[in-house]
Symmetry: C4
Subunit: 230 residues, 4 copies
């Protein structure tokens, strides 16, 4: 079972450069095996060109390495904090994708402006508060996870399957690693569209709430009718 | 004959990712057989990577599935509304291409600024009005088609072979599925150029009307002289 | 000799899509054989995917077709007007490349802002005046050439090897077809850089004239020392 | 040993077009053999398509050619000035990459806005002062190197492994040629992000200094924990 999850996490990591979301090694994907309480994650700083499924690292919920010859991603404590807090999440991805990161640098949430956004996100994509100096100099990566979790407090995480960390960049998630990558691709694309739309019309209005609900629910609601019956 | 049309619609759908117009499955192309009153359209939510001509769905003018193992695109009622209203249209495409969608989010028509635009569109590319809450919560996709048709009311649809739906994205059409895709590519390109031009000069003036008429007619008028004699 | 020139013009045309300068058939390259007073040019509206060297069209200086089974580019009279006026020019290219065309739509010359520009252009890249209604409704493509020639009046055409036609797009030229394409690539790149630079700093200053002269002359002057000795 | 360095410099040069940093021949990479006081650099104006490792040029610290059939890059005196001034530098790269060059044309330093920047640069990326007319008309390429060195005066060059020369473009460096190219890729990417972020929020604040220090030191400090133990 861990082997299958390693293959899945490997494949999801390899999808990042294919979708243009990463430069060099600036991204990582993980997935969790909830039954066995284990997380599989990309090793830190390993090139996508030479990486294999066997290079994936298996850690327990405290981040202890159980399998693998490499150190896990330095962002592992962030992933673990989110898995611990949100039982619905099965996969997580972090990138520095260009447009989503630019919104994080601008310190602004990515506003819901159209149906492309609403097909995947039932709200704006929040930008977290800044971490304090204490949080950065303390257990930085863990605190990043806690700040994300706090920003999501009142949301259903699968209805807001991504966030941008202030002055840092995007995290996205989903029921699986593959779905997390899918949502990271969507974030980058809606971040780009929203940048262009704002440039065209600084006084634009966000998407009408009934249109947002319609689009999110036709894909994700109990009566979803987009795609094929499952 | 339907088989030939399936091949044509399949090929037109496959052209969307090749032209960079779609992310994942965010696009669909259809074509109509006017004699037999049948429409061939992409199945809903099926990946371009694995799709085959046989996966295309055949529906009648009311949207009943006549052939195919999949559900048709969720946007089928929009396509049908346009085919019913405009007898000149033979193919329709919908995408969420980046720049055209950004104009839709900005709530602005794409202005005719140069000959690139005028080579294909004899007017601005209109942005529709917003759908009302009733229209969205009612027969949403049908109403999208009706709102497009209303926005086109006084235009010759082949002289304005595309439109952007407010807070949603572009629809384009043509005499065939292939021509519809061609026009969708043009829309995206002129949407990008118009964004950049506006950024360079917010006080620019739209294309001179005599230049617009010249360019549209040298390609599409009765005395067209662009390209080879047919 | 004409066969060699056909190969050269064919190769230069094929370089346009490879450099990302054209969508569909929106571009054309020609070259002149000054001794025989013949111009070889791309046929009108023929796809790059299927075009062969034999498809190139040979015309005389009045535009009469001497060889080839297709009509020449509809822009042929523009090319001929430039060849007649400027004896130094051996090749010409016209495209609708995105950023250069956006400057044409904005109605602004592309300002010389840095050494990338000065390595090829010894001045701003001028934007022509608008053609009048009479010029457009008369011999439009010829008049386009005359308006370009007028805008260049006081310049050495190989020191300003390109121009943008108002509300239309770029023309570039050089001693050969290949050099013309090279200059078209440069125009598109400096058009993009100048757009971004203006967005970053609307109050920027153009390149210092002594820096412009230095860079242009180290590549093109009598004492050029860039590249290998020839 | 020189052969190995030629291979290394060749490979680093070939990485430039692969990373989208150069158009035509607008870039060059060098590396130094400190023991033998020799620098290996790309030949001037040679196409990446046909270049081989043997084409690399070996010069001494005064720029005299010791090996190679071509002239060295016209920017060789700039590289040598930097190698002479900063003993820590082992490789240097110069490009005209789009976004970094646009900041140079805007005359602005690239501000540190997020962790992507701080992972590689411990400060803003400075824009040099303009060269004077005397400096340009004198030993121009040498003076470019001196102006860069002056702008870096109080910095540790490996903590600020790149700079933009006013109205010209970026130079980057590192302990090796490969690392220099790596830093050039980062500069271009953070230049793009900073452009977009500024457009989204002209009143954004630069990265918190404690966050910058954390990110730079977790990758480059004495207690670095990003990547694998070395």
């Amino acid at each position: 079972m861990t082997d299958a999850l390693k293959e899945e996490v490997y494949a999801a990591n390899m999808a990042l450069p294919r979708h243009g979301l990463v430069t060099f090694t600036w991204g990582n994907v993980s997935a969790i095996d909830r039954d066995r309480q284990r997380v599989v994650i990309k090793p830190s700083g390993i090139s996508y060109d030479t990486m294999t499924p066997e290079d994936m690292v298996v850690v327990d919920m405290q981040g202890n390495v159980l399998e693998g010859k490499y150190r896990p991603s330095s962002d592992t404590p962030t992933h673990l904090a989110l898995y611990r807090r949100f039982a619905q999440i099965g996969g997580i991805v972090h990138t520095h994708s260009t447009h989503a990161t630019a919104w994080a640098q601008a310190g602004l949430s990515i506003p819901a402006l159209g149906t492309t956004h609403a097909d995947y996100f039932a709200s704006d994509i929040p930008c977290t508060r800044a971490l304090t100096e204490e949080e950065v100099n303390g257990d930085y990566e863990l605190n990043t996870g806690l700040v994300i979790a706090d920003a999501l407090a009142n949301s259903q995480p699968l209805h807001t399957p991504g966030i941008i960390v202030y002055q840092h960049g995007p995290f996205a998630w989903g029921k699986t690693a593959d779905e997390a990558v899918h949502n990271a691709v969507v974030m980058e694309e809606v971040a780009k569209m929203a940048w262009i739309a704002h440039g065209l019309n600084p006084h634009l209005t966000p998407i009408d709430s009934y249109l947002m609900e319609k689009h999110f629910s036709r894909k994700h609601g109990p009566h979803a009718y987009y795609g094929q019956a499952k």
